[in-house]
């Protein structure tokens, strides 16, 4: 992360799961609501969808002392510094913005879905009808006008804040210290230690492994690295090598011409 980058801080210990963010996101981005069913949880839609770029996850958790906690985690794009999705995107639809976040220009998206599998957080979602991929762009259009992301603006309790990376990191670690004093010994900052640092940081009240659908050690998949960082250059290298080799072969060894006398039947 660069010093000029911006970060959204999600303090899960302040979230009341009012889901203002979930709707504000849809309102600003003009994403529809779809018919769902209740599956025995408040969490709905069950997961991020092409039309749901952010989602509050609800999780009932009893800690070791039997004290019940209801954990709320706003899920969505983490805006990685080393973003697997940007790495694989063939068309440049996914790109790093000047804020350090990962934008998506859907006019360029060709629906190849490669990003779906390159993302360690399983964030990008594909819509069959438009043959496009959708995900949070941290309200790039708003940021450019100096407006807060829609979710951050809507948040009543200060669970969502937005600002320069250094400030936000400082805030996050200070909050974790407070939480540790206040009966949350496992409080931690999540996001700054992998994929080059994410532009969405969490303050978690519990260890990351407690939370549903939150990878403990997210990383760009090895296959993607092998593909993009190794095989991609190798393909040019190998082909180049062959062309060079052929050339050398031609000028050094010479072509394998038929022997003149071999053409006896031709006469």
């Amino acid at each position: 992360m660069k010093g000029t980058d911006f970060v959204k801080l999600i303090d899960t210990t302040r979230c009341t799961a009012c889901r203002g963010c979930q709707v504000a996101c849809k309102q600003w981005n003009e994403m529809p609501g779809l018919r769902t069913r209740n599956r025995g949880s408040y969490q709905n839609p069950p997961d991020l969808e092409w039309n749901t770029w952010t989602l509050v996850r609800f999780q009932e958790h009893e800690n070791g002392d039997g004290v019940l906690q209801w954990l709320f985690r706003k899920d969505g794009c983490m805006h990685c510094t080393d973003a697997g999705c940007v790495k694989v995107c063939p068309s440049g639809a996914l790109f790093y913005t000047e804020f350090g976040t990962v934008g998506i220009d859907r006019t360029k998206c060709i629906g190849c879905k490669e990003c779906l599998f390159a993302c360690p957080f399983e964030v990008p979602k594909y819509d069959r009808a438009t043959d496009k991929v959708f995900k949070c762009d941290l309200c790039y259009t708003r940021l450019r006008e100096g407006l807060l992301p829609a979710c951050v603006k809507s948040c009543p309790t200060g669970a969502l804040t937005f600002g320069a990376v250094d400030t936000m990191l400082k805030t996050a670690y200070a909050r974790v210290e407070d939480l540790k004093q206040d009966g949350h010994p496992d409080a931690n900052v999540y996001g700054d230690k992998f994929v080059g640092g994410t532009h969405v940081l969490y303050v978690l009240g519990e260890k990351p492994e407690i939370y549903d659908s939150l990878p403990q050690k997210p990383a760009v998949p090895l296959t993607v690295i092998a593909w993009k960082d190794f095989l991609k250059p190798l393909s040019l290298l190998a082909a180049g090598g062959v062309i060079l080799g052929s050339f050398l072969h031609y000028i050094i060894h010479g072509p394998k011409s038929p022997d003149e006398n071999g053409d006896r039947d031709a006469t």
Binding site: R35, N38, G40
Partner: protein
Amino acid sequence: MTNHYIDLKNSDCILIMGSNAAEHHPIAFKWILRAKEQNGATLIHVDPRFTRTSARCDFHVPLRSGTDIAFLGGMIRYIIENEKYFRDYVVHYTNASFIVSPDFHFKDGLFSGYDAEKRKYNKDTWVFEKDSRGIPKRDMTLNHPRCVFQLLKDHYSRYTLDKVSSITGVTKENLLRVYKAYSATGVPDKAGTECYALGWTHHTTGSQNIRTMSIIQLLLGNMGICGGGVNALRGEPNVQGSTDHAILYNILPGYLKMPAASLDTLEKYLGKNTPKSNDPQSANYYQNYPNFFVSFLKALFDDKGTAENGFGYSWLPKLDDGAAYSLMHLFDKMYDGKVKGLFVVGTDPAVSSPNANKVRKALENLEWMVCENIFDNETHCFWKGPGVDPGKIKTEVFLLPASASMEKEGSQSNSGRWVQWKYKAAEAPGDAAAVGELTIRIMAAIKELYAREGGAYPDPVLNLKWDYIDKNGKYDALKVAKQINGHFLRDTTIGDKTFKRDQMVPSFGMLQSDGSTSGGNWLMSGSFTADGFNNMEKRGKDDPTGLGLFPNWSFCWPVNRRIIYNRASCDLNGKPFNPKRKLLEWTGEKWVGDVPDGPWPPQADKEKGKYPFIMKPDGLGAIFGPGMAEGPFPEHYEPLESPLTVNPMSGQRINPAIEFFNGEMDKVASADEKFPYVCTSYSCTEHWCSGALTRWQAWLLEMQPELYVEIGEKLAIEKGIRNGQRVKVSSARGEVSCIAMVTKRFKPFQVEGKTVHQVGLPFNYGWLFPKDGGDSTNLLTPTIGDANTFCPEYKAFMVNVTRI
């Protein structure tokens, strides 16, 4: 609210009980959390269910539905026994020192004066002893055996920890934890507040739940101070305004009493309703009642109301003495076929009324129904509801399309009494029009018919002032707002101020009873300046006290006072109890800070000083409250339907003053093995009330798509119910099919030695839309209400849950 939303941040301890603030007032919760972060406030949630509120509180204490008075009664006992009360406050600012009549008594759940046949009290013995001047006698040592304090102590001595724990299902440790944390605010520099909502009012003991808390707040000196008060987080956008303006059978705008049949003249009416006090230190502000009432009549009938005709008093309908005309009474009468026409404006009683099966059946008896709304709903469409044959229903139904909130200009009052003006952003679609416009047009058409044809008692119809239209003939909200504020009908001089005819009345202190002023609602006098500036439009962001009063943001009744009873935040000499939060201070000449509860010097000035609770006849906070239907001290009674066959506190199982409805559909099943589980109904963040607005919105419906019942894991295992499975919930009155949400957030209670399970459902769904979203939870609830207000008992009834 006695205080206001931002003021929650000034608290040191917030007890959220009878409310699910984080889910239903998410923005209020911003200020609740701020109290925790800025003052280190303790946040306590007492609720049967662990909710999103509980998730953010310091601790959650589960309590069986309908046992709040027992819980709080135990707190009163704790406060008194451990001397946690704020003695100076209790002695000087409450009626704790008053001596009660020797004829007053309490025995086995009943106060003196009970008439079992009428289920009503004769309150003649619920009075204070008075001295020769007619002023209540007091014992400032609080030792007199018949003083309010001693009676209070005596009454709640029965609410022992064991008893309370056994009734409420709350462990003794949890009880003590709450009592200790909350009673710590009974010192001058600490403030404790209480947030309640429908979780308290929706009980047969609803009003008394709130009164119990008021007693606690008075004992701890938490009334009238920053970060204190008893705060109703009300459920609808303008329920404060609609109550202030009295869309209620029993009051008129400004909480003026609806005339009773026995009061056939204005004089008799004013004589009955204007309180008197002989105590020179009591401001007894309601002695101005005639000014308020006559100005209201002038607002209705203008120059048609004269001193000679009692300003049109006889044109107002009169209620039978002691009779009630609430929604439940209306549907009861409609069920009997005695109601022919109905206006249904912005409401969906077929979903939101108790015992909805009865309500839906009752609607079939109407000859006509006029509905005004922005979406269709189950009430409008009752004639094609489940199991209804439209071919047999004669009702003519009109559904008039209405403007949505942002499509019209007008004011809304929030719970903190901030009356905020809002603007019209766009035209309503199609033929939709503001409810004000529809009301004006319908009434104008009726007036025209009466003018042309005459008819039954046409006087009030014809004499009603009805010119609230602009030059284009459209509803003019500003004109109505000015009529509500009031204006001078002739040039008038009051004190050293002179007002011209048609100038606005700048404060209700200026309203007159001689017919020289008109004012549609005295509380709102001052919403305009004399020159006609609309104070409700004010958007000043200055906060001079730093306490979040924002005196220049909108208008706040009364007279822009942000915290009611604020003089009680100062000691007898007008110095703030808490110097860190100076709400008000007497400089020796005047009060500075919030708008004071009256200009008079503080109480220590025996000549000109006044007591702080100026709206009370005695000027003091009422620990002894004779106004209540079921007794001056709140007492625990079981809900109409409960798991217990007897009330552990007394021989009175249920509230002795509630009124029964005995129709064929009003079945009750208490402590019945067929319906073994306590049930409560509620709402969710994503929907609003009956869901009649929110179910039509895909973004919201997507998050909460259909009816569910929350069931504890233990009960689910017992019943073999899996999470997400479809189940049937049934009561003596009806049943609903819904999705089981098996949760750790409901835990069984230990009540009177047995295990009691509680379940709960939201009441946000109806059969009309979405089609497969389930029907109203109110198909289960009983037609029964609070003894004072007739708020239905939605929050405690008995059900069964079975797999389908």
